[in-house]
Symmetry: C2
Subunit: 243 residues, 2 copies
Amino acid sequence: MTGRLNPNISVDCVVFGFDRDCLRVLLVEREIVFHGDTEKTVRDYKLPGSLVYNEELLKDAARRVLHDLTGIGGICLERYDVLDSLERMDNRVDRQWLEQTTGLSIERVVSVAFFGLVNLNDPLVSKVKDGARWMNLDETKQLPFDHSAIIERALAVLQQRLRVDATAFGLLPEKFTIAGLQQVFEVIGGEKLDSRNFRKKLKNFHFIVPLREKQRNVAHKPARLYSFDHKRFLQSRKSISFF
Amino acid sequence: MTGRLNPNISVDCVVFGFDRDCLRVLLVEREIVFHGDTEKTVRDYKLPGSLVYNEELLKDAARRVLHDLTGIGGICLERYDVLDSLERMDNRVDRQWLEQTTGLSIERVVSVAFFGLVNLNDPLVSKVKDGARWMNLDETKQLPFDHSAIIERALAVLQQRLRVDATAFGLLPEKFTIAGLQQVFEVIGGEKLDSRNFRKKLKNFHFIVPLREKQRNVAHKPARLYSFDHKRFLQSRKSISFF
DNA sequence: AAATCTTAGCGTACATATTACGCTAACTAT
DNA sequence: ATAGTTAGCGTAATATGTACGCTAAGATTT
């Protein structure tokens, strides 16, 4: 990457992993060594994030930082927040950590937050670098700093996107079942849906096209497979909202 | 304000002015002097914006910059976008202008965009500093740089807010008529509404409370006055959306 | 004083969405 | 054969959205 690190602007990434029946968040381990009477090492997990280069778009920086810290690349990231609190670097190891890591004297950092969403069954993303970890969403309520809040906000925005976007289909294979689609909405939306009403709703959406094919080797009545027609989706995009 | 200007972070403000039957945007004049064969001065209008101080929250910076450049203060501003294009300072007078104005050498500026909304009949905001001007929204399609696009995005976000927020009531006096409220939605939403259906919708919103009072001195049947009950609004806030 | 103009404000009919269910169908595992 | 499981259709009640007709109450005009 060209140029020098900008000491004032950073990015943070919240990557959600859809894991069939739960949501996870991608975090990276950080080691902090305290030089007190006795040397003591503490490990904690934080969101992947770092300073941006001067001649770098923020979304490029987010992708780079995510890839460098976790090994994950090629995913779609959306900007959703800006963190500018003056205290976020005070009284925190973050500041010291940033200065140690970057060699820069950090005065003030405004961080731009991004979020993304991947399917953890995709082998491209399920394997992460050493030190990175997919943590269950439920377990992220006690993260250091404001990272729990950052994740909470990201989830709220993701849930909004899901209602309006084609986001959900990005998690599914080419051919999927209605039940599979429903589970995406349930896991990310955080609530159970009535499968019969869910079906009915989809009937109006002509961009979800039934195939002649059916499931096989399942221990119950095999379900019809469907595919997502992106072209039709864009056409009928005027006034759609899922569940 | 404390500290030094941060050469990397700026704010831009889009302030909409509701003017009974149209929307305006607050712009500031900028003089550019070209030193060619003959000296030539060009004036254009831009959004109010400038660099932030190191020890300043972005929303405080936005308020400060807005007040300094236009004389308008005490309004609510909401962050809605981040402008990080690498070209936004290239080949543009903006860069030169910033360096002249601030005395700093500008390498890269990420700008955080805010928008606000005021009632132009409010004397506190209708009078602006010399060089500032309320321009009709229709006339802002040809502004220099990306400012037209910034305004367009701000309007889209404002329209979304209007559906969910109590934003509309901020433009109205304590006691208002249904027709008055409707006009807010029409002017900002950019489309006519059926007054009878609009009324019907409001019947369900118990935070719009009818008063015993009526209009006076109008050349038609006087309308009932209503007031907005913010406490009740917050209670019933779960699943409300206007028109 | 009567007619007219204008906006207020109620009501109706129809279409479309939402919610809460019952029920049968089709497959596998035992 | 039977039980267990999910697929997938249908129905009825309710809520919401849309397109109107019509009368009411004031000021203004004739």
